[in-house]
Amino acid sequence: MEKTKKKFSYNNFHSLIFCTALSPIIAYVFFTVKGKGELDKLSILIGAVAFAVVQAFVQSRFYTLEKKDEMVQYNLAKANRITLCIVLTVLFIAVLVNDYLFKGFVCSDFCWITVMGAIALRSFLFMMFDAPSAKDTEEE
């Protein structure tokens, strides 16, 4: 008998990516604000990547993703487009700020926060676009 995989919606997948990408940023902010971090940045990032890899393995092994659904791809394309615009804007503003207003950006911090922020934002936007309203989910 063929074993059928349980469904794991692509929306759920992106909520995981969102959490994974946002966690190191939040941890970093906490440690920075507290002023005596016990973890270095690399450890935080490695932890996030390890978590993502384990999640990806579990999902591919036990769940079926709805990635091929064309509305998923459409919503993802919209999220990608907006994320790209925001990342480019942030980078452009950062260049201007660094050149004319405030010299002293920590480049590595800025880069990884931008990258993880972009990943989190992309997943967040996808969840927003893809979330069906309560009325939509009613069977007709």
Binding site: E70, D136, E140
Partner: protein, 67 residues
């Protein structure tokens, strides 16, 4: 911009088919069918043809654009 009009809901009712069943037959999620029925989403040519095939009719019969 022309607006998508669809008779998908009527055809589904005529064939006594649930949204989930149609979704499974054409390989998409039920949410996609819901949004198609509400005219919130323009289907690809492949999906439109798959849906028409399920109901044994033509794409133009189910989907049309109105100015």
């Amino acid at each position: 911009m022309p607006e998508l009009k669809t008779k998908l809901k009527e055809y589904r009712a005529k064939h006594d088919m649930k949204q989930g069943e149609l979704a499974e037959l054409v390989g998409v999620r039920r949410e996609t069918i819901i949004r198609l029925e509400k005219g919130l989403y323009n289907p690809s040519l492949k999906l439109a043809m798959d849906i028409a095939k399920v109901f044994g009719t033509t794409v133009e019969e189910i989907f049309s654009f109105e100015e």
